[in-house]
């Protein structure tokens, strides 16, 4: 497709750019979802339950907005007379983006169930895991910005950073679970915290999946 001047090819590429611009909006909304979750974690650490509940509600609403954007992109990818040439990769990418917001919402839901104050060591590890998610989604946001500006080198470098952060998140999950084991929590709280640890690591996994699909789109448009 490179250097193709055919009008239908050009129109297909224009559709692809339009989808990527929508994906950019989606990533920004996903970033907001993660930011609200981070606020919820901060409020939880400070013991401010009202602020925590409000932030969890914000996560839910933001996830819903991301879902609406996802539906619009899927419609654009399947309807119309002229479609983007890499639509299968784009469809996987769009779905991967949506899963980030889904899993963040899942994490927020679990956080909502935890009512007891947790030991400082556990809270510190939850905060670190949340920061990793926020950094990772920022990198994904930068990557898609670079991709829409056709700066493929930068986009690929940002995706590499996402991969690296995912490894850090894996290690952080291990540290968090270790701190949970040593915290001697009640069974219900332990179970919820363990689930939260799984979900937090899951969010970075989903961000990595999205970055992988973005790499495919970037490499194909080279």
């Amino acid at each position: 497709m490179k250097e193709m001047r055919n009008i239908l090819g050009w129109l297909g590429k224009t559709e692809e750019i339009s989808i990527l611009q929508d994906a950019q909006k989606h990533v920004e909304e996903t970033y907001m979802t993660v930011s609200y979750f981070s606020d919820a974690v901060k409020a939880f650490i400070q013991g401010d339950l009202t602020a925590k509940t409000a932030a969890i509600e914000n996560v839910r609403e933001s996830e819903h907005r991301a879902d609406v954007l996802r539906s619009k992109m899927v419609t654009e990818l399947s309807e119309g007379l002229l479609l983007p040439p890499d639509r299968e990769d784009l469809l996987h990418f769009v779905k991967a983006l949506d899963r980030i917001a889904d899993w963040t919402n899942g994490s927020a839901r679990i956080l909502g169930f935890i009512e007891h104050k947790l030991p400082d060591g556990v809270l510190k590890n939850i905060a670190t895991a949340t920061d990793l998610i926020l950094t990772s989604v920022s990198k994904l946001k930068e990557a898609i910005n670079a991709l829409t500006k056709n700066d493929l080198k930068r986009a690929l470098a940002d995706c590499e950073d996402v991969d690296r952060i995912e490894h850090d998140a894996d290690d952080q999950k291990k540290v968090l679970i270790e701190s949970l084991i040593h915290a001697k929590l009640e069974p219900v709280t332990f179970f919820l915290c363990y689930q939260l640890a799984e979900y937090l690591e899951g969010v970075t996994d989903k961000i990595e999946d999205a970055a992988d699909f973005m790499k495919t789109v970037a490499i194909k448009s080279k």
Partner: protein
């Protein structure tokens, strides 16, 4: 010097012809490949045959307009007309390459017409503004006419074909209609676009119209077989998402539209015609084909192209005149 000028002009024309064959072949039978009515090899053979037939049988109409209709090159000094032909081909070629690099959807027809007029102005040749105005008007009506025809054809064919053709023959009939209309698109494309490659060289009179369109047809053919197949595959299998009856309606609309202009010797954008036709077909179903931003980009390229290629040829020929003095 003559031989060198002729060789260079032919080379430029061949490059334009190659680019047309490489990029625009997909507009005719891409959908037939995408819907697996034809294999890629069969499609290439048909496009090459019908494109070449169009170029050689009816290509001279538009070639006359580009060669003599905009600037009467046959009335100019032989050397001067050769320089004009070379510079116009060069300017069109440069703009096509730049636009391809910048990913702009430009038309080769618009580029060559602008380049010929620009070169004519540079040497103070009598540019036929009336013809240019007619050509510009036709450029406006090309996508509109195709869209209207596409809309009407799809409405009619959708209601008639499904009722007239027995169900068991429907698939095979539609396949035949898609191939036939695609061949017609290839024919009219060859007939209208070959002039972009060789119109100016035929205008100088160094080779006859007949020979020039055969050479142009050969350059287009080379473009189809060396690069066009990649574009056909991509457009047909990945981009164009048309139902068989939609593809048939759009192809018929585009081919008839371009054929009318070809008979009158007007160089038009075959790409604008097919996009207009697809847009018209899409309108029936209320589907979005082009949004306002896309239309704006296409129109901008449409307006910019003749002026930029004209400016390039004007500047190059003026510069060449200073150098030659």
């Amino acid at each position: 010097m003559h031989i060198l000028l002729i060789a260079l002009t032919l080379l430029m024309g061949a490059a334009v012809g190659w680019s047309i064959g490489a990029n625009d072949a997909a507009n005719s039978l891409g959908t037939a490949v995408g819907s697996r009515v034809l294999t890629l090899k069969q499609a290439i053979i048909l496009i090459a045959v019908f494109g070449f037939l169009g170029a050689t049988l009816q290509g001279s109409h538009v070639a006359k307009t580009i060669g003599r209709g905009i600037v009467p090159m046959d009335q100019l000094d032989k050397n001067m007309s050769l320089y004009l032909a070379l510079v116009a081909s060069f300017a069109a070629c440069v703009w096509v390459v730049l636009a391809t690099h910048w990913k702009m959807p430009i038309s080769t027809s618009h580029s060559i017409v602008g380049a010929v007029a620009g070169a004519g102005l540079a040497i103070s040749a009598p540019v036929k503004w009336k013809v240019l105005l007619d050509v510009f008007m036709c450029w406006v009506f090309t996508p509109i006419g195709a869209a209207l025809l596409g809309y009407v054809f799809y409405r009619v064919f959708k209601n008639v074909l499904y009722r007239v053709i027995p169900r068991k023959y429907l698939q095979v009939t539609m396949a035949a209609l898609i191939v036939a209309s695609g061949c017609y698109v290839a024919y009219t494309w060859g007939a209208n676009d070959v002039a972009n490659a060789v119109g100016v060289i035929s205008g100088t009179g160094v080779i006859s119209l007949k020979v020039s369109v055969i050479l142009g047809g050969a350059a287009i053919l080379l473009g189809i077989v060396t690069w066009g197949y990649k574009v056909i595959e991509t457009v047909g299998t990945q981009i164009a998402n048309l139902l068989p009856i939609m593809a048939f309606s759009a192809q018929m609309a585009s081919a008839i539209n371009v054929h009318i202009y070809t008979v009158f010797g007007i160089p038009v954008s075959t790409s604008h015609s097919i996009v207009g036709a697809i847009f018209g077909v899409g309108l029936v179903k209320g589907l979005h084909v082009l949004n306002l931003r896309i239309i704006r980009e296409i129109v901008t390229c449409w307006i910019v192209t003749p002026f930029v290629s004209g400016l390039i040829s004007f500047a190059v020929l003026k510069g060449l005149a200073v150098f030659l003095k």
